[in-house]
């Protein structure tokens, strides 16, 4: 029989688990955290000023033009939304599949989802060009008819999909945290801390009845989030696939986008988790090398799916016999943007193959490096899809190039400032590992107890 590896190392007692996990919340920040936070904060201020300048002066500051009317804003939107998907996969889909290893990474992955969706949501709002009119995206009674929104447009589907996704994942994340916030409340010494966490924890007491309803709700939300997360990236892919631009108009897009989203999201989870393990060494007993290895396997599997999609697109471009489709793909690989295409192939398909070797899957420096390449590669995937398809479509007379500007770099780099500021704050004020979820699985893989329902 296969022996299970321990999910929690170090023979912890219940008290040890509580203390380990709430330690970052109850102690003063370390110098490393402060320096990271200040850097993130500076980047955030830079981002805010970039956005302010772009809104004040107009979209012309970015590289968008005719024919490449979709640029950094859309590319980076899809990039961040995709990153969010791994969090929901870990917290909802792996929960439904009863994957117990997910418990210690779920909270932080879900936090990553919430922050990534927040970061993503800003881009299309600015992309509209006149963000002060963004409320037009929602159907509301108005004095222009009333002129309703066009429900046949994939862009409007996106408004509904992304706002529902943001709402449901934030609620899922928060509700899961309520019992842990009660733990912090009960440990609090300072009355102000007690008060704040008392409000945040809703007065949770942990009675058997409460747990019964709580567990049921958790399962229901996981069940609802699962089709939701698949629908979100499907709908994001519709933004492209419903148009008739060669290179976009393909039926493979929804599954290809979902696989890519999970791939990039796990890349980001591994990046963040390796850093969290360095910053909070006591978490190494909860987020073990085994956990990291499993995530690396998922990176490799989804990377292969993405690679298959790249190949399949090329095959169909040839097999369909459509001259425009064929040209779009030859142009991707050998045209003026070939460099971006090969960066994408290299980062997403070639480099993750390192994980075939077990010692590489379990090496922190290697997985960190690979995850950074995955992040880069997946940004370039969206760049390739968006820019190379638009820059040369049907009429050679209307071909052109994307005019990348300083402001494109500014919003791309700056968005990490927003994401990292939120993430670093989260690590210090909220329990970064689910205390109440880790305790029931603490004996999995131990000789004496055994995971009897594993």
């Amino acid at each position: 029989m296969m022996k299970r590896n321990q999910l929690v190392l170090g023979n912890k007692t219940l008290k040890d688990i509580t203390e380990d996990i709430v330690k970052p919340v109850e102690t003063l920040p370390s110098k490393q955290w402060l320096s990271l936070f200040l850097s993130a904060k500076v980047l955030l201020l830079f981002y805010i000023s970039m956005i302010a300048i772009i809104i004040a002066n107009g979209m012309g500051l970015l590289g968008v033009n005719n024919p490449v009317a979709w640029g950094t804003m859309i590319i980076t939107f899809v990039f961040w939304i995709g990153i969010g998907h791994a969090g929901t996969l870990i917290s909802a889909i792996l929960f439904l599949f009863r994957q117990k290893w997910r418990t210690s990474v779920a909270r932080t992955a879900e936090a990553m989802t919430v922050f990534a969706v927040m970061t993503a949501g800003i881009f299309p709002l600015i992309h509209t060009g006149r963000p002060w009119l963004d409320f037009w995206l929602f159907p509301y009674p108005n004095q222009r008819g009333p002129l309703w929104t066009n429900f046949r447009s994939p862009l409007l589907w996106d408004v509904f999909a992304v706002s529902t996704y943001a709402t449901v994942s934030a609620v899922f994340w928060y509700i899961g945290m309520v019992p842990d916030l009660a733990t912090i409340r009960d440990r609090a010494v300072h009355p102000l801390r007690k008060k704040i966490y008392g409000i945040l924890s809703f007065g949770w007491r942990g009675t058997a009845k409460q747990w019964s309803h709580f567990e049921m709700l958790y399962m229901l939300l996981a069940g609802l989030s699962t089709p939701l997360v698949l629908s979100v990236h499907t709908i994001v892919s519709f933004d492209f696939a419903v148009s008739n631009v060669p290179g976009w108009h393909t039926t493979i897009f929804p599954p290809y986008f979902v696989a890519g989203a999970i791939f990039s999201g796990f890349g980001m989870v591994v990046t963040l988790m390796t850093l969290v393990r360095i910053g909070f060494p006591q978490f190494k007993d909860y987020i073990t090398i085994d956990h990291m290895e499993v995530m690396n396997k998922i990176i490799m599997a989804t990377g292969l799916m993405v690679g298959y999609a790249y190949g399949s697109e090329f095959f169909i471009a040839w097999y369909s016999g459509n001259a425009y489709e064929k040209f779009a793909f030859i142009n991707r690989a050998f045209g003026p943007y070939a460099w971006s295409y090969w960066i994408m192939i290299c980062c997403n398909v070639v480099i993750p193959q390192l994980f075939w070797k077990k010692s590489f899957r379990r090496s922190i420096p290697i997985m960190f490096t690979v995850s950074i390449f995955v992040n880069i590669g997946m940004w370039f995937e969206r760049f390739v899809i968006t820019v190379t398809s638009l820059h040369r479509d049907f009429l050679p007379s209307s071909w052109g190039m994307y005019a990348w500007s300083f402001f494109d770099t500014g919003v791309l780099v700056g968005s990490f400032g927003l994401f990292l500021t939120l993430f670093l704050l989260y690590l210090r004020v909220l329990p970064a590992i689910s205390i109440a979820e880790v305790k029931p699985v603490m004996n999995v893989g131990k000789e004496t107890h055994g995971g009897h329902h594993g």
């Binding site: 309703w148 949770w204 009845k209 049921m216 609802l224």
Partner: protein, 173 residues
């Protein structure tokens, strides 16, 4: 809901003890008791005689409501209230409305389920009395309120002690 009940609580140190205690308390004929734990325990619902949560019914009805609302709203705005010819597509373009209807189904179902859970758990609650601050960390408790059938201070204290409670105290809950 602001009134809290007085009663007696037994504090336990292990999961096995508290499940056994809850089971025994129920066998003794108490019905209003509460079992507290820092995390959900397998078998606790059976020990306390708690029925399956009714939240899924709320989820189902709210989901259906969201679906109907999405269907009616897209139909009414696009095909009744202000019709616009968009690319020659029919005013009532059901397939194109499915993503909206789907998202509203999920949104209604999820938010209503959360509201139902809050209602079912009696939260948010302002400053509820806490029997022991370690119950949300590493201790367990069974609390029997004074108005429960067959409540008798002496009897309850003895019962808790015989079940292996590390501490028995008068508490408010």
């Amino acid at each position: 809901m602001a009134k809290f009940k007085k009663g007696i609580a037994g504090i336990f140190l292990t999961e096995e003890q508290v499940v056994k205690a809850a089971h025994k308390t129920r066998e003794m004929g108490f019905t209003k008791f509460e079992a507290l734990s820092p995390y959900p325990i397998h078998g606790m619902e059976e020990a306390c005689g708690i029925k399956r949560s009714w939240i899924p019914y709320v989820t189902f009805i709210a989901g259906l409501t969201g679906m109907t609302a999405g269907l009616l709203f897209t139909w009414w705005t696009s095909a009744v209230n202000w019709t616009l010819n968009i690319g020659g597509k029919p005013f009532w373009s059901l397939p194109a409305f499915i993503p909206i209807i789907f998202e509203l189904t999920i949104l209604f179902a999820a938010l209503s389920s959360v509201a139902a859970m809050l209602y079912a758990c009696g939260i948010p609650k302002v400053s509820p009395p806490i029997i022991d601050k370690d119950i949300t960390s590493h201790k367990f408790a069974v609390f029997i309120p004074h108005d429960d059938t067959g409540y008798d201070e002496k009897k309850v204290e003895d019962l808790m002690k015989s079940l292996g409670a590390a501490e028995v105290k008068k508490a408010e809950f």
